[in-house]
């Protein structure tokens, strides 16, 4: 049996709020670069990026394969092209619009088997020169070369020929109840070339010849032929479907790696570094992490950010401060990097260490939620509830101004309850917020596990679009009040 699994997607189950995550983190921009317009690549990438499950082992398995692919990119591109073209050609050439006409199905499907046998031959040819080192690609090549050889291809072609160009049907049959014909078994046509066997066959056979005017009889003959062919039609169709599945699976699994080749080329072109992430349950570290979707839309190298957090079970990164300071860009870049990392890909940074391969979920304020209304708040809370239903220990939640659809006093209470609960449940939180009560109470209460980030401002007031660690200054406002009130006019 041909076995290969370049992706190890497992059940391949998507995360519950996949569409929100895709939009919030601008995944389409990244996927656009990786796919270069190839639908299959885009589909596979979204599937891998938004998968619910991911283990460290799988991450390492794919990282190894990605490295291998970047070394053997021309072989991988050829394989992908053969797999995709084989599938698409057969798909175009074979018409099976109804399953109740066996002789028609037999003819079409035999044609398809012939086409795919040709592509298998081409694939075999490419593989004979492949020099893969990763476990994923080694076992693919081994399984294919072990199971598909010249004999197999020759036989498949022969079958295709018999059904496309053979004449008549030959079958064994028994007599069942009501003296009807039962259990037809289609037989391999007998060699009738030798004169001796031909004479023997003639001698011991009974022949019925249809009267040329017997139109009903001709229809019945067709009816019987179709009946005899129905089983073989199913068998052939199944064989064809198996081949098609093989080509589709292969193309799909390869498409992920072709996307990796494309993204790597893109980063190289902009001079953005690539690094293969590590996991360390005690750390979240990144050095010069580049916001990827921003790079795609601006086609330039954007301002990178760095962060170093000690993790004790879980952590919260709280971001606050003036608008236009790069907060949301930061949040997106972290989310994108985490998704690429857990997909087994490289990330656009110089160094990237994450504490777990948990899922990444988002809860971004929607524009329409920016007004205060309990109706809106209820909707927002309902949406957050869906996010929470998808959460597990070790996951990451990226929140952008959550609970801003009601006044900050009550929103702070909600936020404090929610974020404390997440943190204490082992969920990692990134939260952009302006909720002052929340900031003060939450950050001071959880100082050991919380990092507060604010946009950097140089002493001359210039914005750098970097975030730096900040601190809560209790009594600052009063102080400010006093300061301003007591200042001489």
């Amino acid at each position: 049996m041909i076995e290969f699994d370049l992706l190890k997607l497992g059940s391949g189950q998507r995360i519950g709020i996949a569409d929100d995550i895709r939009a919030d983190l601008e995944l389409d921009k990244i996927v656009g670069v990786a796919s270069g317009g190839d639908k299959l690549i885009a589909e596979t990438w979204l599937e891998v990026l938004l998968a619910r499950e991911c283990s460290e082992e799988v991450v390492r398995y794919r990282q190894e394969a990605v490295k291998d692919v970047l070394e053997n990119s021309s072989t991988v591109l050829k394989m992908y092209q053969i797999a995709k073209e084989g599938y698409e050609t057969a798909y175009k050439e074979v018409f099976i619009f109804r399953l109740d006409n066996p002789s028609f199905v037999v003819y079409e499907v035999s044609k398809g088997i012939g086409i795919l046998a040709d592509y298998l031959e081409k694939l075999l040819d490419v593989l004979s020169n492949a020099k893969f080192l990763s476990r994923a690609f080694r076992s693919l090549v081994d399984s294919l070369t072990l199971n598909i050889d010249k004999t197999f291809i020759a036989k498949a072609k022969e079958i295709s020929e018999i059904f496309r160009f053979g004449s008549g049907v030959e079958f064994a049959v028994e007599i069942g109840s009501l003296n009807s014909l039962v259990n037809p078994v289609l037989l391999l046509p007998r060699e009738e070339n030798s004169i001796v066997s031909r004479l023997l066959l003639l001698e011991r056979r009974y022949t019925y010849r249809l009267d040329p005017r017997d139109e009903a009889g001709a229809r019945i003959l067709e009816d019987i032929s179709n009946w005899v062919l129905s089983k073989i039609a199913t068998t052939l169709l199944n064989a064809f479907d198996k081949l098609m599945n093989f080509f589709r699976d292969l193309a799909k699994q390869l498409s992920f790696y072709v996307g990796a080749i494309n993204l790597s080329d893109f980063l190289d072109k902009l001079g953005i570094p690539k690094t293969y992430p590590d996991t360390d349950s005690k750390k979240l570290v990144f050095e010069n992490l580049y916001p990827l979707s921003l790079a795609v839309s601006s086609m330039k190298k954007p301002v990178p950010s760095s962060l170093d957090v000690d993790v004790d079970g879980s952590f919260a990164v709280i971001v606050t401060g003036v608008n236009k300071g790069g907060k949301t860009t930061f949040l997106k870049s972290v989310g994108q990097a985490l998704l690429l990392a857990r997909a087994g890909l490289f990330v656009p940074a110089e160094r990237f260490v994450m504490p777990s391969t948990g899922a990444v979920l988002t809860h971004f304020l929607r524009e329409e939620e920016r007004t205060f209304s309990y109706g809106k708040f209820e909707e927002e809370v309902k949406r957050f509830r869906t996010t929470v239903e998808n959460l597990r220990r070790g996951d990451y939640v990226l929140m952008d101004e959550s609970f801003a659809s009601t006044n900050h006093v009550e929103a702070s209470v909600v936020a404090e309850n929610v974020v404390s609960a997440l943190l204490d449940s082992g969920v990692n939180v990134f939260y952009i917020t302006f909720l002052q009560d929340f900031l003060y109470r939450f950050v001071s209460k959880n100082s050991r596990r919380v990092v507060l980030l604010v946009p950097e401002r140089l002493s001359d007031g210039t914005r750098t679009y970097r975030l730096i660690k900040g601190s809560i200054q209790p009594g600052y406002a009063l102080e400010l009040w006093r300061k301003i009130a007591e200042a001489p006019s």
């Binding site: 049996m1 041909i2 399953l99 109740d100 066996p102 199971n147 598909i148 197999f152 498949a156 079958i159 004449s167 008549g168 049907v169 030959e170 079958f171 064994a172 049959v173 028994e174 007599i175 109840s177 009501l178 003296n179 009807s180 014909l181 078994v185 037989l187 391999l188 007998r190 066959l201 011991r204 056979r205 009974y206 022949t207 019925y208 010849r209 249809l210 040329p212 009889g217 229809r219 019945i220 003959l221 009816d223 019987i224 009946w227 062919l229 129905s230 089983k231 073989i232 039609a233 199913t234 068998t235 052939l236 169709l237 199944n238 064989a239 479907d241 198996k242 599945n245 093989f246 699976d249």
Partner: protein
């Protein structure tokens, strides 16, 4: 050999057309029989039996057949025998090679059906005389020499047929047939070749042959086969010629008649699955009627039906039903009439419990539609019917009367009703009399039943009919009071 005794006991007598119409019996029977058009079955349901013994005989068969296991065995038997007879029917127009097969399979099906029926039913402990006697009859057939000989010959013919295997080639306008020797199974070969690829979802090519498989082409292939399998052909031929008659006449009659039970039980089950009850009625001989939870089968299609009770120890025999409009009075009378009718057919009745007389006569008097061509007025017709009924009624008669005498003043109507009911009472007949005239309910020899309003909303009916006096306060008055149109309210208001 025994002769067949009908599973129906004996036939009854066709009911009066007017009764069938008034009690909506034809509608009921068409519910029971569905699309079945068998004339015998229709007739059976329109023929109440004349003696209590026949009714009890049938009800005992029902008691057996209402057991799931027995029902299943009988139902399967009927299907198999019909199948055998279908083959014999097809045989008439078939080509010779097919005749041999159809005849053989008719016999094989028949033999198997009979043997299975006998062995299964014997182990189930049937109690009714009807099924017991048929079982003895079947036993007689199975043990007969002729049956044994037929079976032996049929099995030999079948074994012969099973040995036949040929190779056929269809090419152009020719069919070639050989005795099968060897050959490679293409399907198997292809399956093996592609086993190395993972399977996905299986698609199946389905082909339903257009023809019957009994055509002249098929016959030609069989002819070819028989050329190579001569002794096998002889065995089939021997059976065909040796045993021209397959199905016993008694068995054929049973299969036809027993569907009376099968179809009625199927109908019962469809209602019982919705929570409705059916019960085997018990016939009383002390004048008592005690029917609990009976309901209108015809209304079950339209929604939940409210069941009602009716009781008398036999001293008073006339029920007078009064009460609010649309309160279910007519339904009550009609469905009780149906219960009495069905009991007389010897079938289970739609109720929780049913103890009643085996009425010798069921008579009805429902309002007739005014027909301008009819020379008599409606009142006249009512009186004519009442008098006819009165004359024929006796102590085992039930009369269902609905709004009789309503086309005159209520005082006159009361008088007519009193006379009619007094006479019925004197004859010790039973009656259900639906009327709007409250006075009738106060006659001292009647049992007064009243259609009750809904406890939640007194303006709506509850469809419960309970013993009691007609209400002193009418619904219309109660509704008026809600709008302050009572004496006191008006007096207080109009000061």
């Amino acid at each position: 050999m025994l002769s067949y005794r009908s599973i129906l006991g004996s036939r009854g007598t066709r009911a009066d057309e007017q009764v069938l119409y008034d009690l909506r019996i034809r509608e009921l029977v068409s519910e029971v029989l569905g699309r079945e058009r068998d004339e015998l079955l229709w007739n059976l349901f329109l023929e109440p039996v004349d003696s209590v013994d026949v009714a009890v005989y049938r009800l005992n068969v029902f008691r057996d057949m209402m057991r799931e296991d027995i029902y299943a065995v009988v139902d399967e038997f009927v299907e198999r025998i019909r199948e055998a007879r279908d083959y014999l029917e097809m045989e008439k127009d078939a080509y010779e090679p097919h005749k041999l097969g159809l005849h053989l399979d008719a016999a094989l099906t028949y033999i198997d059906a009979l043997e299975k029926f006998y062995s299964k039913l014997s182990s189930l402990g049937v109690e009714s005389e009807g099924l017991k006697s048929f079982l003895r009859y079947v036993e007689g057939i199975i043990q007969s020499q002729s049956f044994k000989a037929m079976k032996e010959s049929a099995l030999e013919a079948k074994r012969a047929r099973d040995r036949i295997r040929i190779r056929v080639r269809i090419a152009g306008d020719r069919i070639h047939v050989w005795r099968f020797d060897r050959g490679e199974d293409m399907a198997k070969m292809i399956e093996e070749l592609f086993a190395r690829f993972r399977g996905g979802e299986m698609r199946e090519v389905r082909y339903i042959p257009v023809g019957s498989g009994l055509s002249h082409i098929h016959a030609a292939i069989l002819e070819g086969a028989f050329k190579f399998f001569k002794s096998e052909y002889e065995a089939m031929k021997r059976f065909y010629e040796g045993f021209p008659k397959i199905v016993d006449d008694g068995v054929a009659s049973f299969v036809r008649e027993v569907r009376f039970y099968l179809l009625y039980i199927k109908f019962m089950k469809s209602l019982m699955n919705q929570g409705y009850r059916f019960v085997i009625p018990k016939f009383t001989n002390d004048g008592r009627i005690d029917v609990r939870g009976f309901y209108s089968v015809l209304l079950t299609k339209k929604g939940r039906v409210v069941p009602n009770d009716i009781f008398t120890d036999g001293s008073k025999r006339i029920f007078v039903v009064t009460g609010m409009n649309g309160g279910g009075k007519t339904t009550f009378a009609t469905s009780f009439g149906q219960v009495a009718y069905l009991a007389k057919l010897g079938v289970p009745v739609p109720a929780e419990n049913a103890e009643l007389l085996f009425f010798t006569k069921v008579m009805t008097a429902y309002p007739v539609r005014e027909d301008p061509r009819e020379s008599l007025s409606r009142l006249e017709q009512d009186v004519v019917r009442a008098v006819n009924i009165m004359r024929r009624a006796d102590s085992s008669t039930i009369v269902i009367a609905n709004e009789l005498f309503s086309t005159t003043t209520s005082d006159e109507g009361y008088q007519l009703a009193r006379i009619f009911l007094e006479e019925l009472s004197r004859r010790r007949s039973y009656g259900v009399f639906v009327t709007f005239i409250p006075g009738v309910a106060s006659l001292d020899f009647v049992i007064s039943l009243v259609a009750q309003p809904s406890p939640e909303d007194p303006a709506k009916p509850s469809y419960k009919i309970l013993p009691g006096s007609p209400p002193s306060e009418y619904m219309a008055v109660r509704i008026a009071s809600r709008y302050g149109l009572t004496y006191r309210d008006l007096r207080e208001r109009i000061r």
